[in-house]
């Protein structure tokens, strides 16, 4: 059930790096637009990679939306994130075709490689691991997507290689998060 996602969590103070003024143009654009809540939240997430607490408060102040409605919508749809994510989001497909071609093995391999569970972000802020329903590349199952790049016909070995290569590339480049 979708509403189980609502959990009580400690409020973590957001760092001052979140610049809420970036939202001004989108608020201006959608302020009086019928059905504006989802586009506003989507564009906010595009800016920050997630929806910061401060953004909700700002939206409440400057538009006709209420906090409870926004939180209701943000927690309902799978797309919205309320926590910061890693630099690379690894989406492992668990659609039917991938499931029958052993997608679980792929997720397990990545979990081992990164030392995080499904839905978590690595301590260095580089990777977030996610399971998704279907990426629509069923003929290439099992599939994962990192950023805009799709990797198909994966095996446990090739998955580990992809992750290791990305790790290797990231070495030396300082991480923004």
């Amino acid at each position: 059930m979708r509403i189980t996602r609502i959990k009580k969590e400690k409020v973590v103070e957001e760092s001052a790096t979140v610049d809420l003024s970036l939202m001004d143009p989108i608020i201006e654009k959608y302020k009086f637009y019928k059905g504006n809540m989802i586009p506003l939240l989507q564009h906010t997430q595009e800016l920050y990679g997630f929806i910061p607490r401060g953004a909700f408060l700002k939206l409440e102040k400057e538009t006709n939306l209420t906090l409870s409605d926004m939180y209701g919508v943000a927690s309902f749809y799978a797309q919205f994130r309320l926590k910061p994510v890693g630099k690379h989001i690894i989406k492992v497909c668990h659609g039917t075709a991938c499931h029958v071609q052993n997608a679980n093995v792929i997720t397990e391999a990545i979990q081992e490689e990164l030392g995080v569970k499904d839905g978590e972000t690595t301590a260095d802020g580089l990777f977030t691991l996610e399971s998704v329903a279907c990426l629509g590349c069923c003929s290439l199952a099992p599939v994962m997507m990192i950023g805009d790049e799709t990797f198909g016909k994966l095996t446990e070995k090739s998955t580990r290689e992809v992750i290791r290569n990305m790790r290797e590339k990231e070495k030396g480049t300082p991480c923004k998060n």
Binding site: M1, R2, Q42, Q101, C137
Partner: protein
């Protein structure tokens, strides 16, 4: 002499398989002007299992090359394009000679996919060159009325391709009958079924056909605003739709007084879905466009009376709209000539799973499942035994091998307990555990249930718990009955299609594979050797060479053995991870 044409398939699958690199390389060669050829892009050709695909059209005809990588491309450039000698062994489709893959196209009839793989989806000119926007123009030029158009669609027998199978013409008629100052037409492109990608392929490969279909629909129901509700997971489809909408606006095909009719105003907007399977349901989709949580509401009133913003609204699926221009062009009778008695026309299937030729196929209604799996699909991967096909995603069910003669039409598929659904067809072989599949789908619907109806919200959770314990070897004898009882209660007391169909995967697997459930519960065995807690790993002493590899790899140190001495697995310590099985080179590990 006419220039050789080279066309690269750049759909999502193709790009995932590396078509982007192939295109870049061709582009470099093309721009360097060493070889004279025209380079073009197209989208999904349907042959996903041979991606990346490159088509070369020379004066003798068309040659489709499969699984093109850089090395093969070099050869094709050298032999075919420079020296005009096609490389026969790489060709997967041509009219010149038979290929190993010819059977994939035999029996296919492309109506919804008529342009996919033939045109550049980002070019309105190429769409128009293939009878694009001819249908809507003929409607306006011949001064047809909305009633005429609705009659054509009714006569064609077209039924909703999103899965429900409701007659499209009838839906349009209802929406037309409700008078209002503002009406809406919505295209449902929230293709959420895991294992289905036909709508994505149409949107990526032929976006204008959907726009034209919607425009004809808007004319028929007298709507002035259209929405395409598309999954955010399909970025390429959204990009190409945006390009297509912009092109149509520039041509005056969208906007005010379009196609020379005073007062025919129609424009289309895209609404990106935010990821919720339930939004495939009409009323939930409307709630989502309105900016609310995607929760279904009670019907009546149906959307045709009070839909988006409480105005009359008509919702059809992508594939349905893609069929419309063809029907208007060729006539209702031409469409109705294909298909079975009560299901007319063609249906696109996404053929995936344990199948040799996975991809997108469009066949006339009325062909059998066996035809699709064995003729088009080329049979089961590694020639294993065919067990079942799963049709209709989480709302559908599994049709077993012995019902392979079932024809695909709405009524015959419903009779098996599955549903046609949007057209995802996942093929399963003897290594697929049916209890596990039921668990997989139920886990999906449980997560996606919006939580409004108690039976859907709690019932799916309880059913999942029962299935989990069965696959862990802790099932009780009464579990099958409990599952069935819960299933019927969920079906009876849910408001929308999600809940009403969520138990289908469980019910059909119990119906056709009851013995597998019983093996899990009574014998604590998984016949497909898939459910790990039910497996026992042993070493066959005669085959063991005492190489000690398995001993090294075992994470729980459950293997005893020294050099020159057959090894032995202590069952009490075995965690059933299968590491020894995958490591052993001598097939000395037995799994039961």
């Amino acid at each position: 002499m006419e220039k050789v044409k080279v066309i690269v398939g750049l759909g999502s699958c193709g790009l995932a398989a590396g078509a982007g690199k192939v295109y870049d390389k061709l582009k470099a060669v093309h721009d360097a002007k060493i070889l004279g050829f025209d380079l073009k892009k197209t989208s999904c050709i349907g042959m996903c299992y041979r991606e990346p695909l490159v088509e070369v059209i020379d004066k003798s005809g068309s040659y489709l090359y499969g699984e093109v990588n850089e090395a093969k491309l070099e050869e094709i450039l050298e032999k075919h394009i420079r020296n005009h000698e096609p490389i026969k062994e790489y060709v997967v489709k041509t009219e010149m000679f038979e290929t190993a893959d010819s059977s994939f196209f035999e029996g296919q009839v492309k109506i919804a996919l008529r342009n996919c793989g033939y045109i550049d989806p980002e070019s309105i000119e190429e769409y128009e060159a293939r009878e694009g926007y001819k249908a809507i123009k003929s409607i306006t030029e011949n001064k047809l009325t909305p009633q005429d158009v609705i009659k054509t669609i009714l006569d064609s027998g077209l039924r909703g391709r999103g899965g429900g199978g409701f007659p499209t013409g009838l839906k349009w008629k209802f929406a037309n009958n409700n008078k209002a100052d503002q009406k809406y037409i919505i295209c449902n492109a929230d293709e959420g079924d895991p294992g289905a990608f036909m709508d994505r392929s149409v949107l990526e490969g032929d976006p204008h056909s959907v726009l034209e279909g919607m425009t004809i629909g808007a004319f028929a129901i007298e709507a002035s605003e259209g929405w395409i509700y598309c999954r955010a997971e399909y970025p390429l489809a959204i990009k190409r739709l945006n390009i297509a909408i912009e092109q149509a606006r520039n041509r005056g095909y969208l906007g005010k007084d379009i196609f020379g009719i005073q007062g025919f105003n129609f424009d289309i907007h895209i609404k990106e879905g935010a990821g919720a399977f339930v939004c495939g349901e009409e009323t939930a989709l409307i709630a989502s466009i309105e900016g609310q949580r995607g929760m279904p509401r009670k019907r009546p009133p149906f959307p045709a009376e009070a839909g988006l913003w409480r105005k009359p609204t008509n919702i059809n699926n992508v594939e349905t709209f893609a069929n419309i221009p063809w029907i208007v062009n060729k006539g209702a009778a031409a469409y109705a000539a294909y298909g079975s008695e009560r299901s007319k026309g063609t249906k696109v299937f996404a053929l995936t799973g344990k199948i040799k030729h996975g991809g997108l196929v469009e066949v006339p209604m009325g062909v059998t499942i066996n035809d699709i799996v064995f003729k088009l699909g080329g049979g089961i991967t590694d020639d294993k035994k065919f067990k079942a096909v799963q049709l209709g995603g989480p709302s559908g069910g599994c049709i077993p091998e012995h019902l392979g003669h079932t024809i695909v039409d709405y009524d015959s598929v419903n009779a098996t307990g599955a549903i046609m659904g949007s057209g995802g067809m996942v093929v399963m072989d003897e290594t697929t555990c049916m209890v596990d599949i039921a668990k997989f789908f139920l886990n999906f619907t449980r997560k996606e249930s919006c939580g409004k109806c108690t039976f859907c919200r709690v019932g799916t959770q309880r059913m999942l718990e029962i299935l989990e314990r069965i696959t862990e070897g802790k099932g009780k004898e009464s579990d099958i009955d409990t599952l069935q009882e819960l299933a019927y209660q969920i079906k009876d007391s849910s408001l929308c299609g999600l809940g009403q169909t969520a138990p289908n995967p469980v019910l059909t697997t119990i119906k056709y594979f009851r013995n597998e459930y019983e093996a899990h519960i009574k014998d604590k065995k998984c016949p497909a050797k898939n459910c790990k807690p039910l497996l026992t790993y042993t070493i066959i002493p005669d085959l063991c060479t005492a190489c000690m590899l398995c001993k090294k790899v075992c994470p729980s140190k459950a293997i005893d053995g020294e050099k020159k001495q057959p090894h032995f697995i202590r069952q009490a310590d075995c965690i059933k991870c299968g590491a020894c099985f995958s490591k052993c080179k001598f097939k000395a590990i037995n799994v039961e």
